[in-house]
Each structure stands twice: as C-alpha cells, then as structure tokens.
C-alpha cells in the first residue's frame, strides 16, 4: 500500500495533487436503456481519493461572472421515492436530495474528491484504518440548527441503521468519535479505498438531527439539510420546488455567492414526447434526452445539448455460469464472439456510446481500452462452439426488460446467435420479475439488461464479479478473483488499484462472467439561456441542478 516514492504515505496530509479520481456512477438523464443493477445507491467503493483543498469556497469552476436569480423549470418522468438521503430507495432520488443536502465528502464532475465542495474542509489518514476530519465551521442547517461533529456522528450512525439504504455502504465504518465541535475521527474495519467516495453518496449526505427528531420517518417529505436550496413543496406527481438558501456557505471562483438560481421547480411529466414538447413550447428549461433525440436538438439552434462526461455503466447480458448450457465457458466465448457490439450500438443507441470491453465504464479512471476484449469474429465463434459441449448449437432462455428498447436489442442478439446455431428464447419481463428470476431465484441462464455506474469501481466489480456478489448469480467460487477484488479495495494508491482492476477485468472477459455490449452516455437539452450546463452531470452522471444558472 505504501509506495517507495511516498514512504510516509499514511502520515501525510493528502493534498489536491494527490487526489485520486473517484469512481463515477449513476444513470442520469434517462438513457433509453434501463440498467437492472442500477440503483440508486451507486455505491461501490472508491479510490481513496483522499484529498484536501483549502476550505471555504469555490464550489464551481466557473471563472466568469454568472447571472443570478430566476427560476429553472426542469422535467423528470417520476417523483423521487423520498428526499431522505438515507432512507430513500430510488435511483432518481439523488437529483432531489443533492439540491437540499451537502455531503461530508463530495466529488466534483471529474469524480475527484474535492474539499471545496464538501462539509469536511480537510481529511487525513494517520493509518490505513483511521480517517480524521476537520469540519467546516459556521455552517447551519436550513432549520437554523448548527452543523457540527455531533451532527455528523448522528448522521453516520443513522446511515448505518437497519432501515437505511446506505447501510451496506457505511458498514466499513466501525466507530465515529467527536474530538471537538469541528473535529472527527472515523475508524474502519479494514483498509477501504472506497469509503471516502461513498461518503459522497447517500451515506455521507448530512441531514439536520433536529429535523429527524421533529419529523421521524416522515423526513423524506420534509427534508432539511445545509445545501444550496431549501425545500419548499412537493406536490406528488405534479412538481417539486426548492428555493435559494440565502445563507449558503459556498462561493464560485469569481466570488459570487452560490447558488445562482432563486428557485428550481421540477415538474413530473412521465411521457418523453410530452417532455420534449414542453421544451419546444418554452414551458421547460431542461429535459433529459434519449440518444435518438440528440441529433434533432443539436441541430436546433435554440437549444444546447450536454453529454455526460462518462458512460453510465455497461449494457449487456448477465450470465449465470452455474446453469446449463452456459456453464460451459467455450459456449460463453462462442456467444461473445458472435455478438457484433458495434452493430448493436449503432442500431439501438444511434452509435452514441462506446462498444463494450469489460465491466468498467468508459470515461472512468479504471477504464482500460487496451484490454483484450471478446471481439466480434464469427469464424472464431464457430471454432469455440465446435470445441464446446454443444458443437451443433443449443437452445438458451434469455429474459429481458419488457420495453421496446430491449425488444429491439434482444432481437439483434437472437439474430446474431442464430448464425452459429444458437436459438435464443427471449422472454420479456417487468424489471421486478427480472431481478427476482435472475438474482433471487437464479433460475435463468441469461438476462439482457445492464449495470449502472457505481461511485467507485469496487461497487461494479464486487457486486457483479465477486463470488458472493448479488449481481453474480452463478456465485462460482474463484479465490484468485475474490482476492484481487479485496486487494483493489484495500489499496489506496490509484495506480495500484488500476493494475488490479485490469487483471480483474481480463479474468471477467476471458471467463465471460457477463457479456458487455456497450457503454451509453446520458444527455440533456436546454434553451441557450440556461448557463453552466457543463456542471449539470456530476461525477456520477446524475443531475446536479443546484449548479445551474439562467440568463433573464
């Protein structure tokens, strides 16, 4: 864990230049595909992005002076499940609770941990299982109560409680000690490079302890944080409204107090066509785009289109390697070689994205395009099949999501595999049943869906490849792989972690744990008077509305 060049690694104060890029995650502006392992709680683990920047300001990289004021109206398909960061359940909740809550540690749009946007203005690691933190002082919750070390202790313990969605993420922290009003010590069960990144997700979002006392389980409809916006109202299925926090502690690079906007109103419009109609009619300022609509808005000079800087996880097919016939690795390889990833990307994503290699998505620090993927090669596919236990082909059941997108995608799989004599029996199902059959009952060999980006590569890797991973339904024991996964999590040096992830991914590709078809991007469109759109997709591809500004 300690490199030769940095003999005192554990004693040092982590500086910005040593900041490691954290993982990125999440699926944001509703790509047409829906990823099954996508949740919300893109958790994962993360590069120990240890890092400290001078505390205080500069929450936005915008150097020029941004206009302030105005109301931004954005559209999303459905309500959040809750705005309680710890107890909510939905993948779409983050966009809402991040407007109202700050995180103890936060990462910027590049996925780097960044103290200037965190409630902890500094953190250090005196040894591999201890983290000490210095908290920002003078910060108050929207209800007027003070933010301090006791509030952080309360929050972490709440995030570890039984009903918390972040419980699994936060279990690595075994003890939280308050040293003073603004100092804190966290003890970990073992070295964990992911933990600071995870504090940028649900588990590290800070709610007002007084509000928890006041609202109890109903905090999800009465959120109180320290964030840029104050919760105003939530009319279910209609709209969600937040107003500017006039006492917010952050400023941008030009010294302008944040946030820029006076109000953000999010209207719930389920139909994608109607969302776009609202944008064109001028009744909305921001809408997520499916890949198929991007070109139309790029060509319209009234609008601007923003692409997420990184891909939102992988889209492809899960394999249950414990089930016949795909317990035969040669058959899995034959399938991998028979699938033309580029053709599928072109057909279902209009070419927007990147053909898949391994489980780690394009644009993230652990992605490596030099890995030897299972490239499309029909002759090679036939050779592998001939050498398998099924030289004359076979029938295989594949379940998928019951949407037109997956219908089209699965038809391509069916067609491509028929060329090597494999007959796919495609069964479309609702997502709940899909998850149940593949990962709970484990009675289906193949599932076409995908896995959304996690905050740190450890999330993707542990959940889909570790022998006890929920999204690895075969659960075949693989000591070498498990050991590499644990080492990658327990190592704090990013380059070392990347080496481990390269090895892990190559094993996953060679053993065909799953078939990685493509990584898709998220898109958003807005009229040109919406500013700072480059800050819209956070370091996990989820919307960060609070960073936006609007010209009158």
């Amino acid at each position: 864990m300690t490199t030769e060049r940095e003999p005192n690694y554990w004693r040092r104060t982590l500086r910005r230049r040593t900041v490691l890029r954290g993982g990125l995650m999440g699926a944001a502006a509703l790509p047409a595909y829906l990823l099954v392992g996508c949740g919300d709680d893109d958790d994962g683990g993360g590069g120990f992005n240890g890092g400290t920047t001078p505390g205080g300001s500069s929450a936005s990289p915008s150097a020029s002076k941004m206009p302030t004021g105005g109301t931004l109206t954005a559209l999303v398909a459905s309500d959040p499940t809750s705005v309680d960061p710890h107890f909510g359940q939905g993948g779409g909740d983050h966009a809402f609770f991040w407007m109202i809550h700050d995180n103890l540690v936060n990462y910027n749009k590049k996925g780097e941990l960044d103290a200037s946007i965190s409630l902890a203005e500094k953190w250090e690691q005196p040894d591999p299982t201890t983290i000490t933190m210095k908290l920002r002082s003078g910060v108050t919750f929207h209800d007027g109560t003070p933010f301090n070390a006791a509030a952080v202790k309360f929050n972490i313990e709440r995030a570890q409680s039984e009903k918390s969605a972040a419980k699994a993420q936060m279990l690595a922290i075994t003890k939280v000690e308050t040293i003073s009003e603004t100092e804190l010590k966290l003890t970990l069960n073992k070295p964990n490079a992911a933990i600071l990144t995870l504090l940028g997700d649900r588990g590290g979002a800070i709610v007002s302890p007084a509000a928890v006392q006041k609202y109890g389980d109903n905090l999800g409809r009465n959120p109180v944080g320290t964030g840029k916006f104050v919760f105003k109202e939530w009319a279910q299925s209609d709209h969600f409204l937040v107003t500017k926090n006039p006492n917010y502690w952050g400023k941008d690079a030009a010294g302008t107090a944040l946030p820029y906007l006076d109000q953000i109103r999010i209207n719930f419009v389920p139909d994608a066509t109607v969302q776009l109609a609202n944008l064109e009619a001028g009744t909305a300022d921001l809408v997520g785009l499916a890949a198929g609509d991007v070109e139309r808005f790029e060509k319209n000079e009234k609008f601007q289109v923003q692409q997420s800087p990184i891909g939102g996880g992988w889209s492809g097919t899960y394999a249950n390697q414990a089930l016949k016939p795909i317990d035969d690795v040669r058959l899995r390889r034959a399938i991998g070689r028979a699938i033309d990833r580029a053709a599928i990307l072109k057909a279902v994503q209009f070419g927007r994205g990147r053909a898949g290699i391994g489980p780690i998505a394009v644009g993230t620090w652990a992605f490596n395009d030099q890995l030897k993927g299972l490239d499309f090669d029909l002759a090679e596919a036939k050779k592998e099949l001939a050498a398998s236990g099924y030289p004359n082909g076979t029938k295989i059941e594949m379940i998928t999501i019951n949407t037109s997108f997956y219908q089209q995608h699965s038809e391509l799989w069916k067609e491509m595999l028929s060329k090597i004599g494999i007959e796919l029996q495609v069964v479309p199902l609702a997502t709940a049943e899909l998850t149940n059959r593949t990962f709970v009952l484990k009675n289906v060999p193949m599932q076409l869906a995908g896995f959304s980006l996690r905050a740190d590569p450890d999330g993707t890797i542990s959940e889909t490849l570790r022998s006890d991973g929920f999204y690895n339904p075969g659960h075949l024991p693989n000591e070498k792989l498990d050991s590499l996964i644990d080492k990658a999590r327990e190592t704090y040096v990013q380059n070392e972690r990347k080496t481990y992830y390269d090895q892990i991914q190559q094993i996953a590709i060679d053993q065909v744990y799953d078939w990685y078809v493509f990584y898709g991007y998220s898109y958003a469109a807005a009229p040109k008077n919406v500013l700072n759109l480059g800050e819209y997709f956070g370091g996990e591809t989820k919307p960060r509305y609070a960073n936006l500004a609007k010209k009158a």
């Binding site: 359940q89 699994a168 279910q236 299925s237 209207n267 109607v274 064109e280 049943e433």
Partner: protein, 317 residues
Amino acid sequence: MWRYIIQRLLALVPVVLIVSIAAFAFIHFLPGDPVIALIGPEAGTATPETIAARKRDLGLDRPLPVQYLDWLGSAVRGDLGQSAVTKQKITEALQDRFPVTLHLAVASFLVAISIALPTGIISAYKRNGPLDRVLTVLALTGVAMPSFWLGILLILLFAVQLQWLPPSGFVSITTDPIDCLRHLILPAISLGMVQAAVIMRQVRSSLLEVLREDYVRTARAKGLSERVVTLKHGLRNALLPVVTVVGIQVSALLGGSVVTETVFAMPGMGRYAVDAIFIRDYPVVQAVVLVTALVVVLANLLTDLSYAFLDPRIQYS
C-alpha cells in the same frame, strides 16, 4: 323509491367486497418477491436484515388473509393506509388527486356530450345521406383512435406549433379558472373524443328506432315540423339507451384517465395508480382500485335512478 335505493346500496356491498379481494389478490399474486421489487435496484446492496425489516415494516410477513382483513378493517373506517414507498397517507393523497380526475372527467364528459348529441341527431335526421356518412366515418375514427395518440397530436399542434395552450400540467379551477380551462382543453378533447364517438353512435341508432314509432308518425300527421318531431318527441324517448351508455362510459372515462393523466402529466387518481403499479406500491394500488370500483358502481346506480326522471312510466319497487 327509497327502499329500492337501500336495496341497491346493500347489493353493492358484496360487489365491493369481491372487488377488494380481487384487487388484493391480484397485486399479491404478481410474480416476484414484493419486497425485492419494492427495494428495487438497490436489492444488491441491501443486507438480509434490511430486507427482513422492510418486510416486517410493510406487514408482509403475516399470512395473506390476516393482511387482507387488517386492510379491509382499516378501509371501512376510512383509513386506506400509507404508501409503501413515500409513506404518504393514501386518504390524504386521494383527497388531492380525486378532484384532478373529477376536473378531467367532467370536462371530457362535457366535450363528449356537446359533440355526440348534435352530431348524433344530425346523423339520424339526415340518415343515409352524405352528412350522415361523413359523421359515421368520423365517429368510427374517434372510436378507433387511441386517446394517447390523439393527445400527443393535439400537444404537437396546439402547444408546440401554435403555442396556444400549455402542453401539460394541471391548475385547479379554484386557483385560476382561466388557467384551469387552458390546461384542461387538450386532455378533455383527447379523452372526450373517444366517448363522443361511442355516444354519438348510440344517439343515432336509438333516435332512428324511436323515429319509426307510431307516436312519431302521429306527431308528423298532426303537421309538426320535422325539427320539433325529432327534438321534442324523438330525442327524449331516445335518451334512455343513451343514458345507459353514458353510465357505462363512466368506467371508460376513469380507465381513460389513467392514460390521459399520464400523457398530460396531470396529478390525478389514474396517474397515482400507474405510478404505484410501476413501483409496486401495493397499498396505493389496492386503494385506487377500491375507490374506482366504488365510483363506478355508484355511477351505475345513479344511471338506473335517472331512468325515472326521463321516463315517468318507470317505477322502482
């Protein structure tokens, strides 16, 4: 009359009970572990204790009959429970949402009637003529056209191209009557057109039948104008089957509101059901089905009672 109403109301009890059992059973027998479905994509990171806690929390660890009776007991007392996902009280949510659906239903009904009655009468009056044929084709198109498709077309024309009306959303009549109307026009047309087509065909056929009756011939023989014969003598007698169809259309209206509210992003009861089904929010789905069933059976009762007003010969006993 009162005896009849009480008898009918009592007869509703088993109907509503059967509906409630069906609603309860249907949602519980859907494939998939309900708790995994509710936890959703995060199931992968949820610990077994979290899953068990959620199950206990939702009362899903108890036998089904116990769950049903418990739910029914609360429902009878007016407590429909709380959403499994948002924790919002369902009765409170329905108080917000029912008026939205009522706005849409009333507006669609007005659109349907104001199109169906005149066109049905004209069609019958000019039977087999070119106008009748045109109206028949239009009515068939109306019946065949999916309301969501018509809705999208209306949005693209009136909201995006002409920018006369807002593309979606809802404003209550008590907040701003004019804005309410502006938001209601497109969804009401989209939902009302389908109803209009069905009612128009019924008005036409029923009127044609009545116009062949002896008393109509007598009226004509007395020298009354065709207009007076059709409207005064024909229409009133032709309305009985039309009212029956209109009564049946209440359930179609509520069913249609599911789609229309979703397309036009109206926070009504139909949308509440759709959202709940997608996230497997059991208590909400059960409650909406129960309330919808109650509205439909009450609408049917009102339809039956209205016969006496239209035709004094009808006596209830």
